[in-house]
Symmetry: C2
Subunit: 254 residues, 2 copies
């Protein structure tokens, strides 16, 4: 048995460590939702007493070159599981989902690739009012122009796509995207919709009638007992100045 | 044995079918480079006599809801392999790489997640002068502002990151990103650098001195016999109005 295989075995029962900024749901939220729905034991650097932003800063700092097996990474979220360190949201989910029972039918070895495609596409729906540099205040006109393009072109395109997925046969029965059961792709879409509802409440309200399936999926995830308990807990980070930001003047419908 | 397992077996020896726009390298190029380096048998809708844009348009059309097992997809590239249809560039590569010997040490079952993180990060380097709507001509000022931000902030950040990866121990010996051997992550970074060299030749020239490792990797991929043969062939699509576009007035260094 190779060293890699031994390492895998030694990770059974090892808790997951999420390394992410405190104070925003951000991309880290996708990882949290999977860990929570999967009932995993995990730590989260966003929680009080976990060092604040320091664990993230130390991982992405100039002098951190990774270790013998793990390259350095550019940005959080990161997940440590035993000796393995991972970055990139869809990649962390790809690793976690089969371990947490969120990757569809375990007999269907191609399911993970279809779910990964759905998750990557859902993540494309994220948008930011910040085009260049750091400050929204320096680019208000540009932000308004981008937001107008987003809510009139990109948002209906993305939601229309997921509505099509839900109408397709591969989605199976029930409110889910693939194979008639809850998968991590549903959790990803849930948080993307949740973030967009925070960011653009008016535009998202206007999307409900034409995208009933997407909003039913959203409500179905929200009603899952573990998700419901999590969303009401202190473990959920508040929306703030992360990917999803709310500005009243960008809450437009056209 | 499950239906899914039988399906897998039946795909052995089945040629890969790349479904992508003709006339640009685009995101499809990442798939082509893996197929070429891996010596795979494949068809490519970008080649003459393959129907032009029609195969792509039919896959992403309003009425295409996928099939019993495959959801509909939003955008190319797509890959068909037997009954399996995939979308999303990093996802297609994730599927192909282990089959083409481009996923590192086959004994190291965690390698694919580290490579996927590197590939996803490399793909983040892509930029476009087109912020909103279709036409560059309608957004010249905004494009210049975005490009200035890109070449002075994001470009050095991204290249600096990959330089760090190459300095880290996990990269191993030689010019490669991970484990001392060529992987698909190297091919992805190669095409990203190639596209950026086309788009911003002056800014990329200015990066060479501080990022020697990245440019050595670029040359090492370019010199691989199969890649060299491919790049000189008709199978390589020319740069045009795709992700990587060249405008003289955006060829700036600061």
């Amino acid at each position: 048995m190779s060293a890699a295989k031994r390492q895998k075995t030694s990770k059974d029962g090892v808790p997951y460590e999420l390394i992410y900024w405190p104070g925003i749901p951000g991309r880290g939220e996708h990882i949290r939702l999977a860990l929570e729905e999967g009932g995993a034991t995990y730590t989260d650097t966003a929680q009080p007493g976990q060092g604040g932003a320091d664990p993230v800063l130390s991982m992405i700092g100039e002098s951190n070159l990774g270790d013998d097996a793990n390259p350095p990474y550019l940005a959080p979220p990161m997940l440590r599981h035993g000796d393995l360190v991972l970055s990139q949201t869809p990649n962390i989910l790809l690793y976690l989902a089969p371990r947490l029972g969120l990757a569809g039918d375990p007999e269907d070895e191609d399911a993970i690739y279809r779910l990964n495609a759905l998750a990557l596409t859902a993540l494309m729906t994220a948008t930011t009012p910040i085009a260049v540099g750091l400050y929204y205040e320096d680019q208000k006109d540009e932000s308004l122009r981008r937001t107008r393009d987003y809510v009139t072109n990109r948002l209906p395109k993305y939601l229309g796509y997921f509505e099509k997925v839900l109408k397709g046969k591969a989605s199976g029965e029930g409110p889910w995207l693939y194979g008639g059961r809850l998968t991590y792709a549903d959790l990803v879409l849930f948080h993307c919709v949740d973030g967009l509802k925070f960011m653009f409440p008016k535009a998202m309200k206007g999307m409900e009638k034409e995208h009933k399936g997407v909003f039913e999926l959203y409500e179905a995830v929200k009603a899952r007992p573990k998700i419901k308990e999590y969303l009401a807990s202190d473990r959920r980070q508040p929306y703030s100045q992360g990917i999803y930001r709310h500005y009243d003047e960008l809450d437009i419908t056209e």
